[in-house]
Chain length 207, copies 2
């Protein structure tokens, strides 16, 4: 069965040319398959590309943040790095998908799953930082999360087009954004400000 080859070919062609540019002929050529096989397997171009999109969104695994922070700078930097890598590997297809929200809103919806998940994870982690006494100042976790993720996202999408406006080198960018955020939140030197009752183990994990 050439289903999988067609699916990944479709994803590749879509990443390069977008929906309208993904002609069935191009996809068939890329998959090394006769054009008709596509229609027999998927019924229509629309159905094929929809399935290809779902296929790649499901295969995406995100780094997880610990429920109990132990080393905020290290943990957050690793998470940021993996998030950046994830976005950079898919930046072409993400740009295409974002460009077609108006015309194909349902396909963009399935693409928003990953960032929503990431935002949730990050918010929880930041809340845990506060809970465990790493942060004493007041702050809005959602704003902080949006700021870090936004910086990483913009970098992953825009660096190829205008490298001058982003910090060099690429490998250290995620770390620099992360450190800026931690300084904004008042987390420094790997030292906790207060010894919270949750310091070793939180009484209850949030449901």
């Amino acid at each position: 069965m050439k289903r999988d080859e067609i699916l990944s070919a479709a994803a590749g062609v879509f990443a390069q040319h977008g929906f309208r540019g993904s002609t069935t002929r191009r996809i068939a050529d890329a998959a090394g398959v006769n054009e008709i096989t596509i229609f027999r397997q998927f019924g229509s171009k629309e159905a094929l590309i929809r399935e290809a999109m779902q296929h790649i969104t499901q295969s995406a695994g995100l780094e997880t943040l610990p429920d109990v922070p132990a080393d905020p700078e290290r943990e957050l930097t690793e998470w940021s790095d993996s998030f950046m890598l994830h976005l950079r590997l898919r930046n072409s297809i993400i740009r295409k998908t974002m460009g077609e929200i108006e015309e194909r809103p349902d396909m963009s919806e399935c693409a928003s799953y990953v960032p929503k998940q990431a935002s949730n994870d990050l918010c929880h982690y930041l809340a845990a930082l506060k809970r465990d006494g790493w942060i004493t100042e007041k702050f809005d976790p959602k704003s902080a999360a949006a700021m870090l993720m936004g910086a990483i996202f913009s970098d992953a999408m825009g660096r190829d087009m205008m490298p001058e406006v982003f910090p060099q080198p690429l490998e250290r960018a995620a770390r620099m954004y992360t450190r800026l955020l931690l300084r904004a939140l008042g987390v420094e030197n790997g030292a906790r400000k207060t010894t919270s009752k949750h310091s070793k183990r939180p009484k209850q994990l949030s449901a």
Copy 2:
């Protein structure tokens, strides 16, 4: 002469449908003009859309930041607000343009003028903050600028698609990003840390 009506119609259609979806028929209808007039005025669809893009990039005016900071939080917040507004007003066309970098790199190039300019302005302003003693800690202006602009950019592009992940309400988002950045840089309470020799007037403006 219907040139201008055609140009703005082309920009609108492009923002909705992208390059491939911007058929000459659609543009003509949107402009209330016969399809032929387009070809007589611009020669080809490609030339028309190129001119339309240049037209709207030139008409973009960005808020300016003062050479000598007086009230960092106020000045930066106003700048962030205007930058956010600028991007939100154009988010559809920006998404389309970004989605077509691979296929039409020259058109994307002209779109990168505004962010490059903004990044420069912001970097200079942040450097001035340091020069005038508002910031004592070490920091990389480019990273800081990329972080703020990235947060604003992502918000402007993504809020419509996934409002839950961004701080509410929209009107205060730019201010929250700005305050986070200022806290990261150690600028607080509207008070200068040191009285720099440049406090009243810098000896020389950077060329």
